[in-house]
Structures are given as structure tokens and as C-alpha cells.
């Protein structure tokens, strides 16, 4: 029956059931992903963030929360210029991280 409205999926992240497989794979290639403190320097300095929403910080977070579609969306315009690596206060090798994510990412799993 069409009520004109329907159940909306929860926006909450459930850490009990969250799919961390991609995060674990990326973590294995790039363990310093864990040390992100979410300061946002990477996004602030990003040449692509202004026109694409690119944000390494959000990618790291999305990986840890299993939100694979956001990973794709937030990484789509990376030019690998390395500014984020230059500014990261924790010395995270963000380029390596981006490449690791790009390699391990599987489009079909993100659906």
C-alpha cells in the first residue's frame, strides 16, 4: 500500500555491523591512517576540494565508518599533488593512503 511516505533508513553508523574490510586493507598498506586527528589540514589545502568536495580527512573517517560511497565521492577528483602530505601535522603519507584506497576500492562493494 502506498502511504505517500515510507521508512527512512537510519543515518546512524552502527559500529557493530560496519563493514571495515576496506579500512583493514588500506590500514595494512598504510598503517599511519590510524593516527589521523581529523584536523582538516588536508582538506583545507586541497587544490581539488573547492570544486569537488575532495577531503582526505573525510575519506579516512568514511573508511572507519564503512561508508564506501562517501569514500568514492570524496576521492573522485584527487590529482595526487601531495599538498595534503606536506601539511599533515601527524606526518601521514596521504598520497600513499589515497593510492591504497584507490587500489583496494571495489565499485561493486560500495553499492
Amino acid at each position: 500500500m502506498d502511504f505517500g511516505f515510507s521508512l527512512s533508513p537510519s543515518s546512524a553508523v552502527n559500529l557493530d555491523t560496519v563493514d571495515l574490510s576496506l579500512f583493514r586493507k588500506v590500514e595494512a598498506r598504510c598503517p599511519d591512517i590510524r593516527t589521523c586527528i581529523g584536523c582538516g589540514s588536508c582538506s583545507a589545502t586541497c587544490m581539488a576540494s573547492a570544486w569537488s568536495g575532495m577531503s582526505v580527512r573525510q575519506v579516512i573517517l568514511a573508511l572507519q565508518r564503512g561508508q564506501l560511497r562517501q569514500v568514492e565521492q570524496k576521492l573522485s577528483a584527487c590529482m595526487l599533488c601531495g599538498k595534503c602530505t606536506m601539511v599533515c601535522p601527524r606526518g601521514i603519507n596521504t598520497r600513499n593512503l589515497i593510492l591504497a584506497v584507490s587500489r583496494e576500492f571495489k565499485k561493486e562493494e560500495a553499492q
Binding site: M1, F3, G4, F5, S6, L7, S8, P9, S10
Partner: protein
């Protein structure tokens, strides 16, 4: 769960509830959806327990729905409430009892606001005088009707003919108690047992022999949320809230839900039908739903009133499985007979949710 821990919290939130002489204000929603509940509240308090409860046909809405739906300014709501107080003062009462949780919250909020901003009270007094030449005294006590039943729960238990146990197994029934948001979430000290582990309803359940279920989403709103339901575009959000609660309580296999708010029994009841239609899922046993009752209906049941007199037939979820568990006799043929055995017509049956 450490029960003693909860008792300790409850002891911190002992609310003073007057014994007698109440000025009763009804609920807009309940008068329409659960008229028998209010009628039985009056009946139990006045006739069964012999207390003094005063009502006047001159009282109006408290303005709560309009206030929470952002359609009237606060000052208007305050002036409406001031008029209720004036009616109470004129009738010579000092203890206000609201049937509606939102009204109760509204009264409490307004009194607290006046306490913080006395100049506002002065202005409202002027407004009221200009509008209808009335004056008021603030109530000494503001209670919710469920506070009164809570206060009288042991007296009711003494007179009870039915206990909240499965009459076949002797096991206490598993009861979900759902407290209206405006009862104590705004002012925890104004509710019996505070906001986190309120015991206004659990006290009744335990006193009448049932067992209260503590499930993770017990604090969650029923889904009404005023704007969430009243604006159709938001209704998906409303039903999703309710769905979340049912998913959370499901593993506990509750036998029933009791509520003390106008909206809650309505939404916890009706949305079970919508969820069943949309997801194919039901939460009671054998395809039935979980009956969601008002505390007055429950009090009426334990006192031995006829389920159809209590208005259980106006619920979407069939209450027969519950009545069977309790061992309460009922006549299925009379379910849809109204006052004076007048046919009130049988509703159509839903596709998924099993109803009798």
C-alpha cells in the same frame, strides 16, 4: 541490570503528589482517540477510590499542539494556560492534574519560565485581564494524571481482580513502559523517577504484578514529534522512529506496551499497521502486533472492567491475545457494539498485521 541501582535513582526523584482535591484538565487528542480512558480515569478516581476530582466544561486546549507545531507564539500559549489556571482558581482548587503529557509539560515549562522571568508573568496577567477579565493564582502542584494513578497504584492493586500475569503459566507479563517525552525529559525533577529511568508507569506495572522490560531504545520518542507527523512529507521520519523502537524491543518479546501520553499509544499502535504493510513485519506473536494501551485502560483491566467498555476495540492492534493471556473474559460479538449495543461498524482488516 542492577535493580537496586534504579531504586536508588528513583529515591532521588520523589515527586510530591497531592492525595486529593484535583482540578482535572482533559487532553484534546485523548478525548477523541481514547475517550474511554479519560472517562475511566474519572470513574476510578472518583467512584472507585472516592477522591475529589473537579472538571469544568469551560476549559480549552492548553495550546501545546499549536505551540509545538510552531503555529502560535509562546505568549499566546501562556495566556491560554493562564486562563486554565484562572478556571482552577475560580473553582477553588490548587492542584492541577493534566490528562495530557504535552499539557503537563506546557504547564510546567510555563511556570518555570515565569519563575525565571517574573516580568513575563506580569505581562501574561495583563493579557489575560485584557482578554477575558480573569485573574489567577498559580497552582501549588501540577501533576499528570498518571502521577495520580501512580500515587493510587497500591490502592488499585488492592481492589484489582486481575494481575498482570499469564494466567496459564503464572509468569508475569513483559511490559514495555513508554513515557511521553514532555513528561520528564524537560524537567527531570518534575517526573516520578526522573528522566532516565522514570518509574511512573513501571511503578504501576510492578504494583499490578507485571514485569518491566528495559530495552535500549526505551528513551526514544514514539515518533509523533508534532511536526514530524503533522507535515506529511515528514511522516517517513515519524514512522522510522517508531520502527526503531520496535526493532529494539523485539528481542524481549513484550506482551504489551503501556503509555501515559496522548500521541504515544496512538502512534505505537497505528504505525505497527503501517510498518507491517511496508516491511511485512509484525512484532507480536503469531502475526499479531503488540497492544499499546493507556495506563487508564490497564488500570481498568486490572480492576475488571469490560475491555470493550474500556475502548480496546478502537486500537488498531488486536488486544484479544493480551486478554487471553490475562485470562480476561470478553465477548467477541460485542467488540463493535457501542453504547446501548448500537452497531459501530466493523473496520476493514489489514493485509499483513493480524487482527481479530
Amino acid at each position: 541490570m542492577i535493580y537496586q541501582g534504579k531504586q536508588k535513582i528513583w529515591s532521588d526523584y520523589q515527586k510530591e503528589i497531592p492525595d486529593d482535591h484535583w482540578f482535572y484538565v482533559r487532553s484534546c487528542i485523548r478525548q477523541n482517540f481514547f475517550p474511554a480512558s479519560e472517562a475511566h480515569f474519572v470513574k476510578i478516581v472518583k467512584d472507585v477510590l472516592g477522591k475529589d476530582l473537579y472538571e469544568t466544561e469551560h476549559h480549552t486546549t492548553c495550546g501545546g499542539i499549536a505551540y509545538h507545531s510552531d503555529t502560535i507564539p509562546q505568549e499566546t500559549a501562556m495566556t491560554i494556560v493562564a486562563r486554565q489556571f484562572a478556571l482552577m482558581t475560580e473553582a477553588g482548587y490548587k492542584n492541577l492534574v493534566a490528562s495530557c503529557i504535552t499539557s503537563f509539560g506546557n504547564y510546567t515549562e510555563i511556570l518555570e519560565t515565569w519563575r525565571e522571568f517574573p516580568e513575563l508573568e506580569v505581562r501574561i496577567r495583563e493579557n489575560l485581564w485584557k482578554a477575558c477579565r480573569r485573574e489567577f493564582e498559580k497552582p501549588e502542584y501540577v501533576c499528570h494524571a498518571s502521577d495520580v494513578i501512580y500515587k493510587l497504584r497500591n490502592e488499585i492493586a488492592e481492589k484489582a481482580t486481575v494481575r498482570l500475569v499469564n494466567h496459564e503459566t503464572g509468569e508475569p507479563l513483559r511490559v514495555v513502559e513508554h513515557i511521553g517525552c514532555h513528561y520528564s525529559k524537560m524537567f527531570p525533577h518534575k517526573g516520578v523517577g526522573g528522566a532516565e529511568y522514570p518509574c511512573v508507569l513501571s511503578g504501576m506495572v510492578e504494583s499490578w504484578g507485571g514485569k518491566v522490560i528495559d530495552y535500549p531504545e526505551r528513551r526514544h520518542c514514539c515518533g509523533f514529534g508534532f511536526r514530524q507527523y503533522l507535515v506529511k512529507a515528514n511522516r517517513g521520519y515519524s514512522v522510522s522512529n517508531t520502527h526503531k523502537k520496535f526493532e529494539s524491543m523485539e528481542p524481549y518479546h513484550p506482551d504489551m506496551i503501556i503509555t501515559n501520553c496522548p500521541g504515544c499509544p496512538y502512534f505505537l499502535d497505528r504505525w505497527q499497521y503501517v510498518i507491517a504493510e511496508q516491511t511485512g513485519k509484525t512484532y507480536g506473536q503469531n502475526g499479531y502486533g503488540i497492544p499499546a494501551l493507556t495506563y487508564e485502560e490497564l488500570a481498568g483491566l486490572v480492576l475488571g472492567y469490560d475491555p470493550w467498555d474500556l475502548g480496546l476495540q478502537v486500537h488498531q492492534v488486536a488486544s484479544e491475545p493480551l486478554l487471553d493471556k490475562l485470562g480476561i473474559a470478553y465477548d467477541p460479538a460485542k467488540k463493535y457494539l457501542g453504547l446501548n449495543e448500537k452497531e459501530i461498524m466493523k473496520p476493514g482488516l489489514p493485509q499483513v498485521l493480524k487482527c481479530c
